[in-house]
Each structure stands twice: as C-alpha cells, then as structure tokens.
C-alpha cells in the first residue's frame, strides 16, 4: 500500500473513513463556515439588513475578513437599480478659462475596475461622504498629473433616469508647490482635502 496521507488507500476502491471525532470536528467547521458565509452574502444583499446580522458580522470579522470571505457591498447581483450603481463620467478642464468639460472617462465604456470605482463614488455621494469623495478625486488628480494630464477642475457627472447629466461632485485643483495638489470642492468652498495626511477621518468609508 502506497500511503501518502492518513486517509489514503490506493489498492482498489476500498472504503476510507475518518474517525468519528474527526468527522464531528469537520461537521462543526463546515456548519460554522457556510453559516458565516451565508450571513455575509445575505448581508451584502442590502444595507437594510437586520441589526442582529450586523452584530454577528462584527463578531465574525476576525474569521471573515482575514480569510477574505467578507466583502461589503460586493456585487453579488449582476446589476442593481440602487442609485449609486449608475454609470458616471469623469470630466476635467485644463485651464481656468476653459468653460467646456473634457470627458476623461465614461464608466459605461470603461473596464471593470473603473466601474467599481464609480460605484464607490456613487455610494459616497449617496451617503454625503465628502471626505471620501475628496480623497478619491484627489488620488485621481494626483495620478493623472503624474501621467502628464494637467487638470484645473474635475467633476463626476451621472445621468439620471430622464437622461439629464448632473454634476455630483466638482472641485477646483490648486497646485501648492508644483507637485502637491489640493482640491477645493465647488459645493463647499471652505473645505479642502488634506494633502499630506487624511488621518482621523470623521467618517468611515465602510
């Protein structure tokens, strides 16, 4: 007999069994795992989940998050009619005098990653998370700048059900020392996005 594992038998199709204690432990692990997994997927379906589900998810975070089973707002459905799950355009102007927006990205024609990013932006807008939205826009502006795209203003625009394009976020870009940039949102001109650090954010992105 060529034994490679405690439960291996390679002479014919003989019956191989785990001992009862091992099966009992395995059964408990299976029930725990698929129970926790079902809870995660059930909770992903809706932000209107029961409070008990929320509490359980928090208790199970060490297992669910560490092992990668936990995925907030994971797109389990192919498409939803949630207000944030809409296509969006990211547009910019190159100079202060520019009145016309240049389309930089249309999520309807972009790859899966940009579409996920746009869903995130939509969720931030829906939740009035201006800090998060500012950080997202700041990252895009900084990276675009590195790639040689000079932006003076940036905006995220979504199309509503009637086909009218609406600006959901707009900001003026200010260059501080040639490299660092900061954004001043058009809606709240007194707010800026921290350039160096966004430590201790007032709201969670989750």
């Amino acid at each position: 007999m060529n034994r490679q594992n405690s439960d291996v038998r390679d002479e014919g199709l003989g019956v191989v069994r785990w001992p009862l204690p091992l099966r009992a432990i395995g059964s408990i692990a299976i029930l725990f795992h698929f129970g926790a997994l079902s809870l995660t997927y059930f909770s992903n379906n809706s932000l209107r989940r029961p409070v008990v589900a929320d509490r359980l998810l928090i208790q199970l975070q060490p297992y669910l998050i560490t092992m990668g089973w936990y995925s907030e707002l994971a797109p389990v459905a192919l498409v939803t009619d949630d207000p944030y799950d809409r296509s969006m355009k990211i547009e910019y102007t190159s100079a202060p005098a520019d009145a016309k927006w240049t389309e930089w990205l249309d999520s309807a024609r972009a790859d899966a990653r940009w579409r996920r990013m746009v869903v995130l932006a939509g969720a931030l807008v829906a939740n009035d998370d201006t800090d998060g939205m500012g950080l997202l826009a700041h990252a895009i502006v900084a990276r675009a700048s590195k790639d040689g795209i000079a932006m003076d203003r940036i905006r995220f625009a979504s199309t509503d059900d009637s086909g009218v394009e609406q600006s959901v976020y707009e900001a003026k870009i200010i260059r501080l020392d040639g490299k660092e940039v900061t954004l001043v949102p058009s809606i709240e001109p007194t707010r800026t996005v921290p350039v160096v650090s966004a430590a201790s954010p007032s709201k969670g992105g989750k």
């Binding site: 060529n2 490679q4 594992n5 439960d7 291996v8 038998r9 390679d10 199709l13 003989g14 019956v15 191989v16 069994r17 785990w18 099966r23 395995g26 299976i30 997994l37 079902s38 997927y41 379906n45 809706s46 975070q61 060490p62 669910l64 998050i65 560490t66 990668g68 089973w69 936990y70 995925s71 907030e72 797109p75 389990v76 459905a77 192919l78 498409v79 939803t80 009619d81 949630d82 296509s87 999520s107 024609r109 790859d111 899966a112 990653r113 579409r115 996920r116 990013m117 800090d131 998060g132 950080l135 997202l136 990252a139 895009i140 990276r143 966004a198 201790s200 954010p201 992105g205 989750k206």
Partner: protein, 308 residues
Amino acid sequence: MSMEKLRVELLNDWFASAKNFSSQWDQFWFASASTAWIARVRVAVAFVSVMQFLVDGFWVPSWLAGDGWFDLETGRYFIGEGISETGSAYRWSLLFPFSSSWFALLVVVVGGLASLATMLGVGAKLSPLIAWACLLTIHHRAPWLTTPAEMLLAAGLIYLVIDPGRIAWDWRPTRHDRQIRVSANLAVRCIQVHSLVWLCFSIASMLQQQVWWNGTAVTMMSRQRGGYWGIIEGTSWLGQGATVSILALQFLGLMTLPRASSVALGYLAMVVLAGLIVVFNGDWMYALAILALTSAWVPRSAREITSA
C-alpha cells in the same frame, strides 16, 4: 393505540430520521473520492486564476501603488483604518507596507506563477495557498474594487488547499485513479456548496431589485456595462427575455446541479448563463469563474467517488 405507544413510535421515527440524516451528511461530506475528481476542478479553477492574474498585471501596479489611481491614503481611508468595527485590523495586505508599483507587480507575478503551478499540480497545497494569498493581498488593499470573479476564485483556491488532487500530467489510470481520499471529497464538496450558496444569494440579491422584476435589468446592463450587444431597449423582447433567462438559468442551476440525474442539464444552464453574462455584461472573468466552480458538479465516473 395508547398515547404511550404513539409517543414511543414518534420517538423511534425521530431517531430513525436523525440517524438517516446523519448517515446522508457523512455520505455527502466524508465519503472518500478519487483525487482525479478534485484534480479536474483544480485545473479549471487554476486556469481562471492564471487569467485573473494576467488581467491584474494591467491594473494592480498602476492602481494600488502608493501613488496609484487608488493611492495609499485612499486605500487606508476606505478600509476604515482606525475606526472601530470596520475590521480594518484584519486587512493584512502586503501592499500597505510595501507600496511601490514594483512590489505590486511582484505580487501579481508570484500569484500568476503559483496559479500556473496549481494548474499543473506542482507544489501540492503550497501553490494554491500562495495564489490565494496574492489574490487576497490585492483584495485587502482595495476591497471596494473587488469583482465577483475574484471572490469566487479566492474561494476556489482556498478549498483546493484542503486537497489539490493528483498532478496534471500523470494520467496513468492504473494507480492514481485508485487513489482515494476523504479530503479530496471534502474539497470538491466545499466548492460545490459554495457555488450553490453564491447562486442562491445572487438570485436573492437580484430579486430585491425592481429591474429584475420589470424586465429592464439587461437594458440597464447594456447602458452601464461593457457588454457586446450594444444598447438594448427596455421594452424589447430581447431585453425582457434575457433578463428573465438570466434569473431562470440560475434557478435551474440551483435546482438541477445537486441531483445526479439532472446535473448535465444544470451545467448546461451554467454554460448558457456564462454566455449571457459575457454578451450583455462583458464580464469574461465572472463567466469563467462560475464555470470553473460549478464544474465541481460535472458528472463523474463511478470510479471517482466511493461510499463513506
């Protein structure tokens, strides 16, 4: 019949059905199966994983580097770092401490090679474990950007760690087809059940959305996603029919895959579903991941499974 006798009979019935359930549970989870069965599933999952890392090579370095499109500051904010109950402490991505684009590329390359090794059956349990770790390193750095395909693949890879089966190029039927392990069966069962749980909650998720009830979901997909059909009118037969078909195919899969007599029909439903996802949603990776995971249900020969 006295009440006492009735009570005894009911108790006996209850014990008999409990024993029957226990026996069926053991049969399902702890039967021994040929390692050839899980090996077939492993090749399918690992192939899609290789494809996924090839795709990742085009976005991970430019997005998840410290100065990427989703830079470090943004990444930390969106995992809720420093905020209680967000679970950010468990996000163990190496892309947080090592944020250069070269390191991001290294993660993708290592993940791709580990997936390839998994496909070939090299490295036993270590290969799927490394591939899974690389996939999760990317996932934990930006969980909001995770796609459904990546979620399914991560699941498939970690289940393969239980038992990856025999190596791919050893097709000799004499010895290895007779090699049976409980862990081989357990790995297949985990992938099977996971695919059903996914299908179940995918349907549940869709059915809470109005667009899946009024038949305009595919129209919405055609406007918002990168499908190949172009814009579809909401009232067209095509749009309405495709919406209902996507739901019906998932129901069909859920009902038929677990039954040996109808598993072929169930997998055919999954193939058609994958085709519709590609045509109307343009998501090749998701379609392939569904096919890979549900391939665990594909009809197998009598030699691939034995009884507990």
